[in-house]
Symmetry: C2
Subunit: 454 residues, 2 copies
Amino acid sequence: MRRSSTEEWMVPTRWYNIVPDLPKPLPPYLKPNGEPVAPKDFEMLFARELVRQEFSQERWISIPREVRDVYLIWRPTPLVRARRLEEALKTPARIYYKFEGVSPPGSHKPNTAVAQLYYVSREGVGRVTTETGAGQWGSSVAFAASLFGVKATVYMVRASYLQKPYRRVLMELWGAEVVPSPSDRTEAGRRFLSEDPNHPGSLGIAISEAVEDAVKNGAKYVLGSVLNHVLIHQTVIGLEALEQIRQFDDYPDYVVGACGGGSSFSGLFWPFYYEKKVGKAEKDVKFLAVEPKAVPTLTKGEYLYDFGDTAGLTPLIKMFTIGHDYKPPPIHAGGLRYHGCAPTLSLLVAEGEVGAVAYGQREVFEAAVLFARTEGVVPAPESAHAVKAAVELALAAKREGRPITILFNMSGHGLLDLAAYDEYLRGALPDVEPSAEALAKHIEKVRQLQAARP
Amino acid sequence: MRRSSTEEWMVPTRWYNIVPDLPKPLPPYLKPNGEPVAPKDFEMLFARELVRQEFSQERWISIPREVRDVYLIWRPTPLVRARRLEEALKTPARIYYKFEGVSPPGSHKPNTAVAQLYYVSREGVGRVTTETGAGQWGSSVAFAASLFGVKATVYMVRASYLQKPYRRVLMELWGAEVVPSPSDRTEAGRRFLSEDPNHPGSLGIAISEAVEDAVKNGAKYVLGSVLNHVLIHQTVIGLEALEQIRQFDDYPDYVVGACGGGSSFSGLFWPFYYEKKVGKAEKDVKFLAVEPKAVPTLTKGEYLYDFGDTAGLTPLIKMFTIGHDYKPPPIHAGGLRYHGCAPTLSLLVAEGEVGAVAYGQREVFEAAVLFARTEGVVPAPESAHAVKAAVELALAAKREGRPITILFNMSGHGLLDLAAYDEYLRGALPDVEPSAEALAKHIEKVRQLQAARP
């Protein structure tokens, strides 16, 4: 026992895998030549057990004792009824949030970082590489690596490295090596540096560097979203929430989450989806993904095969995409600046089993400030998208006089994003949205890529 | 029910008041003329119920439902066994920490801010004033004020206002008005501004402004430490810890906490002190206060009547002090930069019932980094003092081969103090300590003050 807790039983002992319960088989990852990617192709990059999970058709996967033991530092995370927010909105709806911000790095990301680093360490690998933008994922990897005695090299987008020193310090405090990207460590990095010695970097370039470093130097690469094994680890969120909302004698009509790559939202809704599938759900629960208007993958993208990264180094993934060369505007919700979406979530949106909605940056921060002033918790800018959607659902319930139940994922706190709140409070926060023409251009490129496949 | 939790029962329904259990009567607060301060003298400043609690001889004080309802946002806080730290130290000791950093403002301070703001709002007062240095207390007041619909004016030391914008933003996000001090709002502020238009301010000046503003404008003043009613509210920490450590089938030999004004440490140890007093303690538990060498109140100060503030506006308090005009060096543990100490804790140290130890800034950060890398949680610089003491106790236990149990208070997280960690990691953090001569000079002034009293 690590944590004193009569709730310790509530922390799951197994993860849920949605793949066998999907309405259709998941389209395979493809190599550029059109062949499906085989597990062994992934083993060059990822720990073997993670590859096994990635291709697994098993519904339940045991959580190793060593991983659960770390979860117990902060899990179970609270499920809280937002009574003051309900009162402020004068809504008959009941609003609940699952708060993942109590983890040491402040978000849901360590749920998978801890699992990945455990498997990497168990397989005798001494170092991992990864990329990070604003630093949420990188700091979770640094945290998990420090606990399992593994070295971590984090390629951090240079613009963030220079502008957001606090997350860099957090990673260094946990013992990680943080390298501004592009760097002179890799061929990819040197190529971009030779073009521009002050290159600001991008997530796509940082991925390329992290992958190259891992493959060439016998390290493993770890990824923070999109892939099945990552989302599987996040289901501890929803499995706990199932137990917790029943303690309120309640059950959600809506399960809501912000969506970038899709991991925090999937972590919450998959277990509810499972109950619906097997007839255990107490209501006809609906699932709603929330994204920024600046990166409208699910609401304006198309369901196509596209690269997972900007440089086109990853396999092709069947997913909703607005094009791998789309450059997301610099909104503060850095974790939602992704051109694609998890293949599992994309399939469910394509099949109409999950809905999607997009909001602008200012209205999202407005909802976040309302939440902070009524409920006390400062939402991460990513999580604030879920707050906005929950508020809109609650206001609709009020108009219709329906006492519905809304559950959303507060995936992280915003204490390292206060500069963004400052900008909002000073009225200086812009709304940014791509034009229909720009989006069409990027998506058309993906269509051509698909047509050109052998 | 607000939080889904089988642990909800563990959140106390009453606070513990140590005053009737002290080994001697608490010396009264005195006016400058030597007369004891009466409750009605305090009612000008504080809510009536808080004054009643300040002078209360009752052991148990009921926690209002409305206050407990807010506690349930983040309480009970975790009690965690630090197994990885134990392993890293190769100690036979068992180390536990109570983690108060999961509150929305990130420290133990809202335990009393919520109570104080509730009573203020119930008495129909629409505004509170307070002072803040680095911003931990101010942000907790802003948080609590937003929940009870009370306006908050926070006088923030100008140097911090300029250098630490994030905590200012946090207070503004919760709707508080943050005024850099000295300001032109008060006579005291204008006096210091006329001396120096760019005056950096000090906590003493900010207190003077907050008090003057409250008294002149019909607001109430709220305070974050030292006084009995403040410490009483913090006992939720120790009352939970008593239940939680018993779930481990364990009981502490040592209860350890960092000490500035004394509120977080008292909140943890008072309930254990109570059990010892009434013969319910399972061991001969010892209590250890930890302070910075830069502000060695308990280890080098004297037990005298002194002012609580720098300007000499407060009543005289019998406490350990290094002199109200001692200027603490700018160490990063801003919450420990206080010349005095709670009168209850001072009495217990004077009576030998509580021990005290002081550490230097660098060794404290070294322990904090070890903790972050083994346990994952980033300690606030204040809490890091307790970490250092726990590590030293565990190493002594190793030398002596004694499997003792250590419980310490991790009173807050350090996510808004990463600049300090950066300084430490770069080797740029100084050790600062006052000379014996300097201390003697400040303490001598207090002795003269005492001698001069009518």
